[in-house]
Amino acid sequence: MHFYAMAKQPIITVKNLVKNYGDFAAVKGISFEVYEGEIFGLLGPNGAGKTTTLEVIETLREKTSGEITVDGFNIETDKNSIKQRIGVQLQAAGYYPNLNLAELIELFSGLYGIDKSPMEMLEKVALTDKAKAKYKDLSGGQKQRFSIATTLINNPRIIFLDEPTTGLDPQARRNLWDLIREIRDQGTTVVITTHYMDEAEVLCDRVAFVDGGHIIGIDTPDHFIDQLVASGFERKKEVKLANLEDVFINLTGKEWREG
């Protein structure tokens, strides 16, 4: 039983969000709620408006219209209070050049105006042995875990992860899922985007499908699947008891590799 199942208290409320870039409407009036303590997935093809929606909620972009509340704070009037309560992992963001991981954590602590021991943060993501390494020398999985560590520095109420598992091998992906579940279990709400439906199915408590700037459905993964099956849908191919990824994991082992 997840924390979310017991109390469905909305922590993020988005109402009729519209975001235009010049003539182009990226987000065309979407509304949804994220409940406290859940892992909420925004799913959809490239260009659907997922990242734009996230970046507006993260206070990184101005909305064109609509209303957004994050942990009780209005996005128009309380940007700074929101920034202090959230942790953000950007798709493809870089880190300050020429610094090692411990120094980067120290920098971010300063940006949040708090004192955090770099080792304590690195321990949360199992990177203490890389404290003196540069970000660019990390493997894909390590980079993503480090990014997540930087989102946790200010003990945020909510963290936003934009495609954190893209490009990772199956082991690193599973390892990251475990980390994200751990963070959720400690009471932090997680908002995540992904292209992998298997990932959303096992990781997310609820998902929203976004397409062409609209939300076309919000529910738990189980409900979506059950509904589809009830409508008479059947997979063309006979369903086997395992898939190729199961074979991969079975052959190569579950433990996560560096490099």
Binding site: Q84, R85, A93, G94, L104, L107
Partner: protein
């Protein structure tokens, strides 16, 4: 969650991170310290004693006589005795020797025979000519005095030469070259460093990630500027100390002069960082930073009196030179270091720099991009 968010803490965190990164970046260290020091070493050694005339000594020249010994003691004359006649003639024709000298042994009651060959290939023969004439004047005056002592007939003097040398500060080339190199160091650190840092922080989305934290924009600019300021001033101090202790750079009022030079450096750096902000805004990618930066730095490097005085240029070029900020920084720096001027004595230079400051930052505010 911290309700009393501290901008100072964030600014200092950025300054510390930036300072660490600068120290680890080879180009910053090379441009700020290595290049200026190499130029100082090279030019301090070329400059030192000023000009000298290379004079080949002909075979059979009387090197024992008094005249030769006197010539040898002249600092401007470099007597060369280890070349064959053939080599000397070849070198004279090429201008690698400025003259060939042949003194015949002195025969009593006969005039001293002096044969000098000059070369069209060298302009420095004139220097030897005047040195020799000066020496002949004294020889002839001595002869004349001798004749006068035997004769009651007063021969009127055509010229009476009185030469005196006042004691003064020796002009050393290092006193000219060091302030220029200091200016160059500050210019390149300010323009290149600032442009690269802000462009790459923008392109790699580091700044975007910063904006997801409560940090203020001014903290980012101030923190970066602070780090560059500390690094550049430490570099300037290092250059001044190396110049002073290894090459005898003149510091008239000692520590006060050093402090005044550092204040000027800081002022110059703020202006040059402004150019860096402009370039970071208009550059599309990291490849366009060097050419854009060179457009700013090269003309100033060449025309602002870094290596030779602006007064050596033709008049029209001097107008260009006098419009450039580095010219005025260099002038102020030299007045402070060599003439012992205080900051109150260089208000003219500071005023022109202030005008540049206003112009540069007015443009920077318009062109600077955060995303």
């Amino acid at each position: 969650m911290n309700q009393n968010y501290s901008n100072t803490k964030a600014t200092l965190a950025i300054a510390k991170a930036s300072f660490r990164a600068i120290l680890r970046s080879p180009s910053a260290v090379v441009f700020t310290l290595a290049f200026p020091l190499i130029f100082i070493v090279v030019f301090a050694n070329i400059g030192g004693g000023g000009v000298s005339v290379d004079v080949g000594v002909a075979k059979g020249c009387d090197t024992a006589g008094r005249f030769y010994q006197q010539l040898k003691s002249r600092k401007l004359v470099n007597l060369i005795t280890d070349q064959s006649t053939e080599e000397m003639n070849k070198n004279l024709a090429k201008g690698q020797l400025d003259a060939i000298l042949d003194l015949k042994p002195l025969v009593p009651m006969q005039p001293l025979q002096v044969n000098v060959q000059y070369s069209k290939a060298s302009g420095k023969g004139e220097i030897l000519k005047s040195i020799l004439n000066n020496m002949f004047y004294y020889v002839q005056s001595a002869e004349l005095a001798k004749i006068q002592s035997y004769s009651p007939l007063k021969i009127p003097e055509a010229v009476h030469l009185t030469e005196t040398t006042v004691t003064g500060r020796a002009y050393k080339y290092i006193d000219f070259i060091l302030p220029g190199q200091l200016g160059f160091s500050i210019l390149s650190s300010g323009v290149f460093g600032t442009a690269f840092v802000f462009l790459s922080l923008r392109l790699t989305l580091v700044i975007k990630r910063f904006f997801a934290t409560p940090v203020k924009r001014y903290s980012i600019v101030l923190g970066e500027a602070l780090a560059r300021m500390i690094f550049s001033l430490l570099g300037a101090l290092f250059i001044i100390l190396v110049g002073h202790y290894l090459f005898g750079f003149t510091l008239i009022h000692g520590v006060t002069t050093v402090l005044n030079m550092l204040v000027l450096s800081a002022f110059g750096l703020i202006i040059f960082m402004g150019f860096g902000f402009i370039i970071s805004g208009i550059a599309k990618n990291e490849g366009t930073v060097p050419p854009l930066s060179n457009i700013i730095t090269m003309p100033q490097f060449l025309l602002s009196g870094t290596f030779f005085s602006v007064t050596a240029f033709p008049k029209w070029l001097q107008y260009v030179s006098n419009a450039l900020p580095l010219t005025h920084l260099n002038n102020a720096m030299r007045l402070v270091a060599f003439e012992g001027a205080g900051l109150g004595d260089v208000t003219h230079q500071l005023f022109i720099l202030l005008i540049w400051l206003v112009i540069v930052y007015a443009v920077a505010v318009k062109t600077f991009k955060w995303e």
